[in-house]
């Protein structure tokens, strides 16, 4: 027997059917075809599937789809509001903070969650907040700089 779930996903009211054991990640990717959220490990170790569940940063592979009932789910696909890039997305592009780009959706979601809590993080705070997101290409340098610069953008300190 499938379970019926209603949720607000990337600002859209959506309904889906899922098995009790199915993860939110599987539903996002395989049922709703929202493949912007990536799977790197399925065990909560890499952060590629980071989404916000009612504002809380989670790994979608560790959340049951049924837990999304009545919840708000925000993925990378909703970050660019009405086509306008978020400062994080803009900075990632300007600073070449992605190479292969498969970890990028998770980093953007995680960084956005950080900046919503703290719009003036130190480099160390950025590094520890993002320690749950693995990137094998960049060595993190340009990612961390992009997040710090996007924070300055959000504070209105840059042009």
């Amino acid at each position: 027997m499938k379970r019926h779930v209603s949720a607000i996903i990337d600002d859209e009211p959506l309904e889906f059917l899922c098995d009790d054991g199915q993860t939110l990640l599987d539903v996002l990717r395989d049922v709703l075809h929202k493949t912007g959220t990536k799977e790197g490990c399925g065990t909560g170790d890499c952060g590629a599937c980071s989404v916000q569940l009612n504002g809380r940063l989670v790994c979608a592979c560790l959340v049951l789809a049924a837990e999304a009932e009545g919840a708000r789910v925000d993925t990378v696909e909703g970050i660019a509001a009405e086509g306008e890039l978020h400062p994080l997305q803009r900075r990632f592009l300007e600073q070449a903070a992605l190479q292969c780009g498969v970890c990028t959706p998770g980093f953007l979601v995680a960084a956005k969650a950080l900046l919503e809590r703290n719009n003036d993080p130190s480099e160390e705070e950025v590094r520890y907040w993002l320690a749950g997101n693995l990137c094998r290409c960049t060595g993190y340098d340009k990612i961390v700089r992009s997040v710090l610069d996007a924070a300055a953008d959000l504070r209105g300190e840059t042009a």
Binding site: D19, R29, D30, H33, K34, T35, G36, T37, K38, E39, G40, C41, G42, T43, D45, C46, A48, T75, V76, E77, I79, A80, L85, Q89, F92, L93, E94, Q95, A96, L98, Q99, C100, G101, V102, C103, T104, P105, L108, E123, E124, V126, R127, Y128, L130, A131, G132, N133, L134, C135, R136, C137, T138, G139, Y140, D141, K142, I143, V144, R145
Partner: protein, 752 residues
């Protein structure tokens, strides 16, 4: 090429063409494709490191509701003749066939031996559990010592050692040797001779995207395969050859690739997905779990290197000798040859010799990993060089400069070097403020030098001029780190048009000519040359069209800054690219150019790194507190992506030095097949990675490009290890430098 030439795009930092898709989630990677009626494929893997397969009974799995196909090695064509084996490029096709599906015996824990396709991944998983396999376990060998022990178990009873006359059956797949001069004479001339032995543990490339593909096979054999790889032509060729298909019947559509580092230059799932699709008559999608990636894709395995260096008291190297044993996994094929070629490559030696052994062990078939074979060799050489500098009480960079190779030096691997930037790289490192910055308590600084060849190989490119004057570039190389940007920049530079007017498409195997893998640091170098040639062909046609319109000889028409101009006639209104494109239909038809080449003139690459560490003497934890990477890029087309290669390679190497290792139990089972226990560096583990791009242009490339992707992983291991020595006084010779090993070394410095 003139040094003074001013570039409009080369050397700038525009946004990559595929950037928006990759920050909004729109880019499709290997696992992001789906088709109506699609099935899920899964693989049954061996629970033994070495066993005979007595029987496989798939009946129960086959009859489970929802299962549409089950395959074993019996469904694959027979193995190849000796002659066909040779056609597999870098891979022996028989080994590849037996690696994707075990025949008769399983050779490592995780070896594939059956696969199923079902309507859901849950049912596919359940079906795997219903396949009944009877094994007869066989004795296994898990490391170099066991594999080379007299009278030990043989992995392949019929294999002899290549490169050794009259060898009996052996686990040593190959012996290689190279060098010049007479090392005995060289060591006799030395005032100091140091000989040391080193070991490294198996490590994985650690790309974040697991292997994934989707296959759709029609009843007439025509097949489409969507997959993430470093080269869709390689995927096509290997898959088609294993399945006995004509290459023209297999169209491979490249997905975006989520990291590869050499590990996605071969096939695992692809032929299985095609076979399952063929059998089921439905599209089949297969995605490895992270555990499968660790257990059954191709890591780089363990190594043991003995290295001897002879040095005169004035610091001149007189001789070098190294014996390298590299594990290649169950089929051999390690990177020991490249290890032998690179180990002494950064320095001039009158007498040098390296001997390599490719050792088979019951572990997964090793794959390429960024500068294959070189990081472990550099670990050995560069830590001994550091020891020599300490013994002679000379600056370690000065000692390296004293012996550094330059144009005309006889390379340890054979030929004489052409124009290279080894000396310039070392000088830039020495002059960097980091090199003379003060250190705090418990901190130490290490430096190291590294070398890698870069590959040329085959590339195709197309340039289509669109009716509005925009340009579409077709490339046959998956974009793994921003190469769409570098190719677009070179095209824009050639045409003299705005970068935003150029779009780059990674074309599938039906739509562009054959192109070798995105690997060997070659795309911006080699495929870049093909793009430049294709652009030149388009500009030739444009000049002809302008000549026809003006009714003059084509030689009289120049192409300058995106428009045709009549030589010596400043009055004549130039013909813009836009106008020529718009009128193309009336002046002779659409304008496009193609180019295909085997790239010549690779520019060899050198990098030198400075690493500062702080060692916690209570816990043994090593923290990298400052890091600078210097590298000769020839010319950086897009400096941000060159820096990105340097930074990413440095951190990958730091992980290799400090954390990463496969841990096998006595039965050959991998105990840490996940990112929790196989710990790659995270953001809080590392500092910013400073970069210095040195530009000694490669005279053989129109823009002076040298490959940059692989060199950055060569120096980090010895840079870290030398820094730890500076902080602790201990010379560590076994990787990784995990806290327990560091503590043990400090407690018993001589044993480390």
């Amino acid at each position: 090429m003139s040094e003074e030439k001013k570039f409009r795009w080369v050397g700038t930092r525009p946004i990559r063409p595929d950037g928006i898709d990759k920050v909004t989630g729109r880019a499709n990677y290997g696992a992001d494709f789906a088709l109506p009626g699609m099935l899920w494929g899964k693989v049954l893997r061996s629970p033994h490191a070495h066993a005979r397969i007595v029987s496989i009974d798939t009946e129960k799995a086959r009859t489970l509701e929802g299962v549409r196909a089950v395959i074993t090695a019996q469904d694959l064509p027979d193995l190849f003749s000796e002659k066909a084996r040779a056609q597999g490029g870098h891979h022996d096709m028989n080994d590849l066939a037996q690696n994707v599906m075990a025949r008769g015996r399983v050779l490592y824990h995780g070896h594939a031996l059956a696969a199923v396709a079902a309507v859901s991944s849950e049912i596919a998983d359940r079906a795997l559990g219903l396949i009944e396999v009877e094994y007869e376990p066989l004795p296994h060998v898990l490391d170099i010592e066991a594999a080379t022990a007299e009278g030990g178990p043989l992995i392949h009873e019929d294999r002899v050692t290549q490169g050794v006359e009259a060898s009996g059956p052996s686990n040593i797949a190959k012996r290689v040797e190279m060098g010049h001069g007479d090392t005995e004479e060289g060591f006799a001339e030395a005032d100091i001779v140091i000989e040391r032995e080193f070991t490294t543990s198996p490590v994985h490339q650690g790309y974040i995207e697991p292997h994934a593909c989707l296959a759709q096979s029609a009843s007439d054999g025509r097949t489409t395969l969507w997959c993430s790889s470093q080269g869709h032509f390689a995927m096509r060729d290997y898959t088609a050859r294993l399945l006995g298909m004509d290459l023209s019947l297999l169209q491979v559509i490249p997905a975006e690739i989520g990291g590869g580092f050499g590990g996605k230059t071969t096939i695992y799932l692809e032929p299985l997905a095609v076979l399952l699709s063929r059998k089921a008559g439905r599209p089949v999608k297969m995605v490895m779990s992270r555990e499968e990636v660790f257990r059954a894709s191709g890591p780089v395995l363990g190594t043991r290197i003995k290295l001897k260096l002879g040095v005169r008291s004035d610091g001149v190297f007189t001789a070098g000798e190294a014996t390298l044993h590299y594990e290649g996994g169950a089929f051999g094929g390690s990177s020991v040859m490249a290890g032998c070629m690179t180990v002494f490559a950064p320095y001039a030696f009158p007498h040098v010799r390296s001997i390599g052994y490719d050792v088979m062990v019951n572990k997964p078939k090793g794959a390429a990993y960024r500068a294959p074979g070189a990081p472990m060799a550099a670990f050995a050489l560069e830590t001994v060089v550091d020891e020599v500098a300490a013994r002679l009480e000379v600056d370690p960079v000065d000692l390296r400069l004293r012996n550094a190779v330059k144009e005309g030096t006889l390379a340890s691997f054979g030929p004489r070097y052409k124009r290279i930037g080894c000396v310039e790289t070392l000088e830039a490192l020495r002059d960097h403020p980091h090199y003379s910055a003060p250190l705090a308590a418990n901190q130490g600084r290490g430096v190291a030098l590294g070398f890698w060849f870069n590959a040329g190989l085959q590339s195709s490119a197309g340039v289509n001029l669109n009716p509005d004057g925009t340009v579409t570039v077709l490339s046959g190389n998956p974009d793994i780190g921003g190469s769409r940007a570098s190719l677009a920049m070179m095209a824009a530079e050639e045409f003299g048009i705005h970068y935003d007017r150029v779009e780059v498409v990674v074309a599938d195997t039906h739509s562009i000519g054959y192109t070798d893998v995105t690997g060997g640091s070659r795309v911006t170098f080699a495929t870049g040359m093909a793009v430049i040639d294709a652009a030149a062909e388009v500009m030739r046609q444009l000049r002809e069209r302008a000549a026809a319109v003006w009714e003059v000889d084509a030689e009289k028409v120049l192409w300058v800054d995106g428009e045709a101009r009549l030589e010596g006639d400043d009055e004549r209104e130039p013909l813009s690219l836009e106008k020529l494109a718009r009128d193309a239909g009336r002046t002779g038809g659409p304008i496009s150019g193609r180019a295909a080449l085997t790239a010549r003139g690779v520019g060899m690459g050198f990098g030198a790194h400075i690493c500062d560490v702080e060692v916690d003497k209570e816990t043994g934890r090593v923290e990298v507190v400052r890091y600078t990477a210097v590298q000769d890029a020839g010319r950086a087309i897009h400096p941000s992506y060159v820096e990105g290669q340097m930074q990413g390679g440095a951190v990958q190497g730091i992980g290799w030095a400090l954390n990463e290792e496969y841990v096998f139990d006595a039965d050959g089972k991998l105990e840490n097949p996940g990112f929790l226990d196989y710990r790659i560096p995270v953001a809080s583990d590392v500092p910013m990675i400073d970069t210095v791009i040195v530009e000694v242009p490669n005279p053989n490339h129109p823009y002076g490009v040298r490959g940059v992707g692989e060199v950055p992983i060569v120096p980090p291991i010895p840079a870290v290890v030398n820094a730890v020595h500076a902080a602790t006084g201990v010379r560590y010779r076994d990787l990784p430098l995990s806290p327990p090993r560091v503590l043990k070394g400090m407690a018993t410095p001589d044993a480390a």
